[in-house]
């Protein structure tokens, strides 16, 4: 196969390979292809421009920002901004808070969504339609509508300005339940029936038969809920009232407001990188699950 491919020129080999995979290649005249690639590369570069700005900006020294704030490239590459960032008071605290909140949210979602999704897909019970209706309704109620009363409830429970108060509303996301239910429906009933005939109880079936099969759905839920928690801004902004409970995004926004008077963009952009990096690295390795999660939000 490789020998045959090598004997052909590149364009032909590409055409054959594509045609073998999808007949759509028939519709694409070869003249259009370089144009298509050109357009895609241009779009990709435009999409990546903000990432370029943040990396380039974070590597410039304070003096360079003063003399030429908008320069595209650093004259002298320096990691000084990152050093100053980690010496900034509270930054380590914000990072720890974000990790702790994300941990609560992810564990909560795995527990709550796998159980609820399994019940909605595989168990017959009174109130099933009502419960599924609640999941759909929860996805539709806008955050704008509930955040004020959610805040009042959080205060009433004595959870204002605590990490638990920040994490709690996110520990059972309806999207996670929905994704798990869709997945559970694809698990064959025969498997569960066989266990039932063997006399296993529902909890045993759930833990021993269903959960070991649910790996991909658990992965998707883990990613989605982590993303949700890590990137969440408005809710932590409302609940966190002292810097001790700031998460990374809230701390970063506060740092930037403080830094604006001295236009310390280097520090702020270094902070932006620290906030963005964990998710981007995860995304590069696990993008399949990110995409599944987003497609799941389409409620198909």
């Amino acid at each position: 196969m490789t020998a045959v491919a090598a004997s052909l020129n590149d364009a032909d080999a590409d055409l054959i390979a594509t045609a073998a995979e999808a007949p759509i290649a028939l519709r694409t005249p070869s003249v259009g292809r370089p144009l298509l690639y050109g357009a895609l590369v241009l779009c990709a570069l435009l999409t990546l421009l903000p990432f370029f700005w943040v990396v380039s900006g974070s590597l410039r020294g304070l003096d360079e920002f003063r003399s030429d704030p908008g320069a595209w490239l650093p004259r002298h590459v320096t990691l000084d901004n990152f050093g100053r960032l980690f010496r900034t008071e509270g930054f380590g605290r914000f990072l720890t808070n974000s990790v702790l909140v994300a941990l609560m949210v992810v564990i909560g979602n795995i527990v709550a969504a796998s159980a609820a999704g399994y019940a909605l897909a595989k168990l017959e019970f009174a109130g099933k339609r009502l419960a599924f209706g609640a999941v759909m309704a929860a996805m539709m109620v806008p955050f704008t509508t509930v955040f004020v009363t959610q805040f009042v409830i959080t205060v009433d429970m004595g959870l204002a300005d605590t990490l638990t108060g920040i994490a709690l509303p996110g520990v059972a996301l309806p999207l996670s339940v929905f994704i798990m239910r869709q997945y559970a429906q694809s698990v064959p009933d025969e498997l569960l029936e066989a266990a039932r005939i063997d006399g296993a109880g529902e909890f045993r079936i759930f833990f021993r038969v269903f959960l070991p099969l649910a790996g991909p759905a658990v992965a998707t839920i883990t990613i989605m809920s982590f993303l949700n928690s890590w990137n969440n801004f408005i809710w932590p902004l409302i609940v966190a009232q002292s810097t001790a409970s700031y998460t990374l995004p809230v701390g970063l926004a506060a740092t930037s407001q403080a830094a604006q008077h001295v236009t310390d963009y280097g520090l702020v952009l270094a902070g932006a990188i620290v906030v963005m990096l964990p998710v981007l690295v995860l995304f590069l390795f696990l993008q399949r699950y990110f995409v599944q999660g987003i497609a799941g939000s389409g409620m198909r």
């Binding site: 007949p23 005249p29 259009g32 292809r33 895609l40 779009c43 990709a44 990432f51 900006g57 704030p69 908008g70 320069a71 595209w72 709550a112 969504a113 159980a115 609820a116 019940a119 168990l123 017959e124 019970f125 009174a126 009502l130 419960a131 609640a134 309704a137 539709m140 109620v141 806008p142 704008t144 509508t145 509930v146 955040f147 004020v148 009363t149 409830i153 205060v155 520990v171 059972a172 339940v177 529902e202 890590w230 801004f233 408005i234 995004p249 926004a253 930037s256 702020v268 952009l269 932006a272 906030v275 963005m276 998710v279 981007l280 590069l284 993008q287 987003i294 497609a295 389409g298 198909r300």
Partner: protein, 303 residues
Amino acid sequence: MTTTLVPGARRRARNSRRTAVAWLFLAPFAVVFLLYTAVPTVAALGFSLTDLRGSDLRHPLAVDFTGLDNYLRLFQDPTFLRDILNTGVFVAVGVPSTMVIGFALAVALNSGIRRLRGVFRTVFFAPVVTNVVAVALIWQYAFNAGGTVNKALGYIGLAGPNWLDDPHLAMPVVILLGVWRNFGTAMVLFLAGLQAVPEDVYEAAALDGAGRWRQLRHITLPLLLPTTLMVSVLLTVFYLQVFDEPYLLTDGGPLGSTESVSLYTYHQFGSGQLGMSSAASFVMLLLVLLVSVVQFRLLRPRT
């Protein structure tokens, strides 16, 4: 909740024990749903019919019931009307641009290119997972008076403005951030839709001599109609609630030119006007429900 279930449980479920077990499975989600969705929604409706202030929360029973007063005041408040208009602009510009870009990229990635396809998909989806606070800071840095964008404009002899301080230019920059963050979502949903179109339909059309444009117009677009409707409703609901972008870039300014309805709710909340804030938030709920109902009406006959 359980009291309403008991009679139904006796009739429908094979046995009530099974129902009890199922609700045990549902309990963690149900508790969070009640506490953070059901109760807050009902409470928001209640708050919106009173003149509740932040300082009243310690003795809420003493608060006056004012009926629909807050709603009447809302629709006479020039600030709220302006914010509805602003939100309309977000939706009217944001939704079509996000969809057109997402659709074009999905078609391009699905049209027989093989090399770098995964790389392109990764790149176009990356903004979706990127932290909005971080990106907003980059945006501020780039669109500042002496920022990177103006520096680039300077190369071609143009003097750039201070984008985010100009009431006419701030909105386009804020929308640009919204579109940049969302077109990847539209692209992924369209790609999923495109991949569900059976390939022999295209083969047959190609044999009948239909060119690429005719295939796009007469096969792809009609077959993708359900996906298109879904993406459009999803984005409409999203842009209706737009908060992060205008809050972080301009806090609704300059001169309120980028203040959305969500931001109005937040600002009323911040100034202790919980009654007014809740009324505005309920207008948002009605708008989102309206859009969702229209979605189900349009999609049902087809799916």
